[in-house]
C-alpha cells in the first residue's frame, strides 16, 4: 500500500502528504518502548524494596513469628521484641487524625466549592491550604513541641482533673503524647483530604445541583442531602489516602508522640508508632535488632500499601461511575 501511495506521489507533484519514513517509525518505537520500560521499572522498584526488606527481615520473622505482632515489650538487651503498642499507636494516632483532619478537610472542601466566597478568594484560600502540604515534617514537629504542647497542656490537664474517669483523659499531659501528635498529624493530612474532596465536589455536574435547588432545597439541604452523598465515594477515597499518609508519617510523630512503649486509650499519655520506632532505633541497632526492625518495617509497609491500594481503587471506581452518565 505504501508503495502505491509513493508512486502516486511521484505522479502528482502537488501532493504534500507522505507516509512516515522508516526513521520516523523507528523513533516512535524506541520512544514507546522507553516509556513502557520506565513505567514497569517503578513497579519493579516496589517489588525490589519489598524483596530486600523482607529478605533482611527473614531471620527475625522465622525466630519471632506471629508473636511479634502481639508482644508488648521491646527490650533489645533481653532479646524480647513485640510491636503491639506501636501498631496500636499507629492506628490510634492515624484514626484520631483522620477524624479531625477528615472533618475539617471535608468542611473546607464544601466551603471552597459551593459559592460561599467570591471566586478569586476561593482560589487564594485553596492555594494556601495546598501550601500546608509543602511544610516539612520536621517543622511541624518543632511547632508541635514549642507552640502546640504548651498551648494545649493547661486544657488537657484541666480535662484530666475534672473528667479523669473518662478513659480518654485518664492521664495528664506532661509533654509529648498522643493528642499533640494526632493534632499535628490531622493538619498534615488536611490538604490531601481537602483537595480530593474538592475535586469530588466540583466534579458533580451542575444539572444535579439544579435538580436539588429545583426541588426546593435550601443551600444546606442541597449540600447535605444531594451533593455530599453524590461525592461520597470520592471523599471516602480522599479520607483513605489521608489515612495512608498518617500511618506512614514519621518525623513529626517521632518528635511529638513520646516514644514510650505504652498501650493506653488516654489521649494525653505518651505512646509510640511503628514509623517512630524505626526512625529512632536504627542508628544503634545490633545486627539481629536490625533484622527485627526490618520485620516491623514489613508490617508497616503492608499496612500502608493495603490502605493506599484500597483508596486508589475507591477513587478510580468513583471516577468511572461518575463519567458513565
Amino acid at each position: 500500500m505504501s508503495s502505491s501511495l509513493s508512486n502516486q506521489q511521484q505522479q502528482n507533484n502537488d501532493q504534500i502528504a507522505v507516509p512516515p519514513t522508516p526513521r520516523d517509525i523507528l523513533l516512535d518505537r524506541i520512544f514507546r518502548s522507553l516509556t513502557t520500560s520506565f513505567a514497569w521499572l517503578t513497579l519493579l522498584l516496589i517489588v525490589y524494596i519489598v524483596w530486600e526488606i523482607g529478605g533482611t527481615a527473614l531471620p527475625a520473622i522465622k525466630e519471632i513469628g506471629f508473636g511479634f505482632l502481639t508482644g508488648t515489650t521491646w527490650n533489645p538487651n533481653q532479646g524480647e521484641f513485640g510491636i503491639l503498642p506501636q501498631i496500636w499507636g499507629t492506628f490510634y494516632s492515624s484514626l484520631l487524625a483522620l477524624f479531625l483532619g477528615g472533618f475539617f478537610g471535608v468542611a473546607i472542601a464544601v466551603f471552597l466549592t459551593q459559592d460561599f466566597l467570591p471566586h478569586k478568594i476561593q482560589i487564594v484560600l485553596k492555594s494556601i491550604i495546598e501550601l500546608l502540604a509543602a511544610i516539612p515534617s520536621v517543622v511541624y514537629g518543632l511547632w508541635g513541641i514549642f507552640v502546640l504542647i504548651p498551648l494545649i497542656r493547661p486544657v488537657a490537664n484541666w480535662l484530666h482533673a475534672t473528667l479523669g474517669w473518662v478513659p480518654f483523659f485518664s492521664t495528664s499531659l506532661s509533654g509529648p503524647g498522643m493528642f499533640p501528635a494526632a493534632l499535628v498529624l490531622s493538619i498534615m493530612i488536611l490538604p490531601t483530604v481537602a483537595a480530593i474532596s474538592q475535586d469530588a465536589l466540583s466534579a458533580i455536574p451542575s444539572k444535579i445541583k439544579e435538580a436539588a435547588y429545583g426541588m426546593g432545597t435550601t443551600r444546606w439541604e442541597a449540600i447535605l442531602k444531594v451533593l455530599l452523598p453524590t461525592a461520597s465515594r470520592g471523599i471516602f477515597g480522599g479520607l483513605v489516602l489521608g489515612f495512608g499518609r498518617a500511618l506512614g508519617e514519621t518525623m513529626a510523630l517521632a518528635m511529638l508522640v513520646g516514644n514510650s512503649n505504652q498501650l493506653s486509650l488516654s489521649l494525653f499519655s505518651p505512646a509510640d508508632t511503628l514509623a517512630a520506632l524505626l526512625a529512632l532505633n536504627f542508628p544503634e541497632a545490633s545486627e539481629y535488632e536490625t533484622q527485627v526492625l526490618m520485620f516491623a518495617a514489613v508490617v508497616l509497609l503492608f499496612i500502608t500499601l493495603a490502605v493506599n491500594i484500597v483508596g486508589e481503587i475507591i477513587i478510580s471506581y468513583s471516577e468511572r461511575s461518575g463519567g458513565k452518565k
Binding site: 444535579i208 435547588y213 426546593g216 452523598p229
Partner: protein
C-alpha cells in the same frame, strides 16, 4: 392583545406572569412579556434560540435567583401572592412549582429515594410507599421499575431517567409543573412517551413547557406563546410576540413575525 382573543376566562389563570424586564447584569434578556398560565392546560413556549423562553420559564419558580447577576422587574402572581414580593422565600416557591430540566438529572441514589426526595424534604408524614408508587405510575414508569426500586436512578435509560425526574417532581403534587425542553436529550420513542405523559398529567396539573420543536408544541400544547428576539437596539432582547390557543396560533397567526417563523423563514 392576547387574553382578549382566547376563549378561557381570566378566572382560570393560575399564574399571572407579567415580565417588564429581566436583566443579567447590564444585559436586557427579556422585555414586556405578559404570559398568563391557565389551569389544567399545557402552555407551550416556542421561539428562536435566545428569545428568552427558558429565562421566562425559570423566572416563574425563581430558579434564576441562583444566577447572581439576575434581576427581575415585573410581577408573577400565583395563589394570590406576588412571587417576587419582598417576603417570599424562593425555596418555598420552588417547593410549590415543580421543574423538569432539559437534561435528565436524577440524583445518584435509588429510584425509590429519588421519588421520595421531595416528600422527605417537606417532612411528609404519610405513607411513603403509596406516594412513591402513585408518582411513578403518574410518570408512566411504575411497570418498568417496580421490581428494582432499590437500583440507582442513574442506571436507567435516558427516557426512563427523564420520567423518573417527572415522578420526582410530581411526588409532592405541586399545582404547576415547569418543563424546560424536557425531550431535547431523548430519542423519538422516549419523546413520544413523555409527550403522552404530559397530556395525561393535565387533569391534575398545570404544565408549562419550553420547546424548540414546533411539532411538539402542536401535539401537546393547548396554549402557545411565541417569543422572538429583538436585535434592533444592538442587544439581543427576547419578548412575547403573541400568545393564543395553539390551533389558532399555528393556523392563523396575527403577527407577520409569527407567520414567518412558523413557515420556517427564520429559526
Amino acid at each position: 392583545m392576547t387574553s382578549a382573543q382566547t376563549t378561557t376566562t381570566t378566572d382560570d389563570v393560575v399564574i399571572d406572569c407579567k415580565v417588564d424586564k429581566i436583566f443579567y447584569g447590564d444585559f436586557l434578556a427579556v422585555r414586556d412579556s405578559k404570559v398568563p398560565i391557565y389551569k389544567n392546560k399545557i402552555t407551550g413556549f416556542i421561539g428562536p434560540s435566545g428569545c428568552g423562553k427558558s429565562t421566562v420559564l425559570k423566572s416563574i419558580n425563581r430558579m434564576n435567583d441562583l444566577v447572581r447577576i439576575f434581576r427581575f422587574e415585573g410581577n408573577i402572581h400565583f395563589e394570590g401572592q406576588d412571587l417576587y414580593g419582598a417576603t417570599v422565600d424562593p425555596v418555598s416557591v420552588r417547593r410549590n412549582i415543580g421543574m423538569v430540566f432539559q437534561q435528565p438529572n436524577p440524583f445518584s441514589m435509588s429510584i425509590y429515594e429519588n421519588v421520595a426526595f421531595g416528600l422527605r424534604l417537606n417532612r411528609y408524614k404519610g405513607n411513603y410507599d403509596a406516594r412513591v408508587e402513585e408518582a411513578l405510575r403518574g410518570a408512566a414508569l411504575w411497570k418498568e421499575v417496580k421490581d428494582k426500586l432499590q437500583n440507582n436512578g442513574m442506571s436507567l435509560s435516558g427516557g426512563q431517567q427523564q420520567r423518573l425526574c417527572i415522578a420526582r417532581a410530581i411526588a409532592t403534587k405541586p399545582p404547576v409543573l415547569l418543563m424546560d425542553e424536557p425531550c431535547s436529550a431523548l430519542d423519538p420513542i422516549a419523546t413520544r412517551q413523555v409527550e403522552e405523559l404530559m397530556i395525561g398529567l393535565k387533569s391534575e396539573y398545570t404544565v408549562v413547557i419550553v420547546t424548540h420543536n414546533m411539532q411538539q408544541a402542536q401535539r401537546v400544547a393547548d396554549k402557545t406563546a411565541f417569543f422572538s428576539v429583538d436585535i434592533s437596539k444592538g442587544g439581543r432582547t427576547g419578548y412575547l410576540v403573541e400568545m393564543n390557543d395553539t390551533g389558532k396560533l399555528f393556523e392563523n397567526p396575527k403577527e407577520q413575525l409569527t407567520r414567518e417563523y412558523l413557515s420556517g423563514e427564520f429559526s
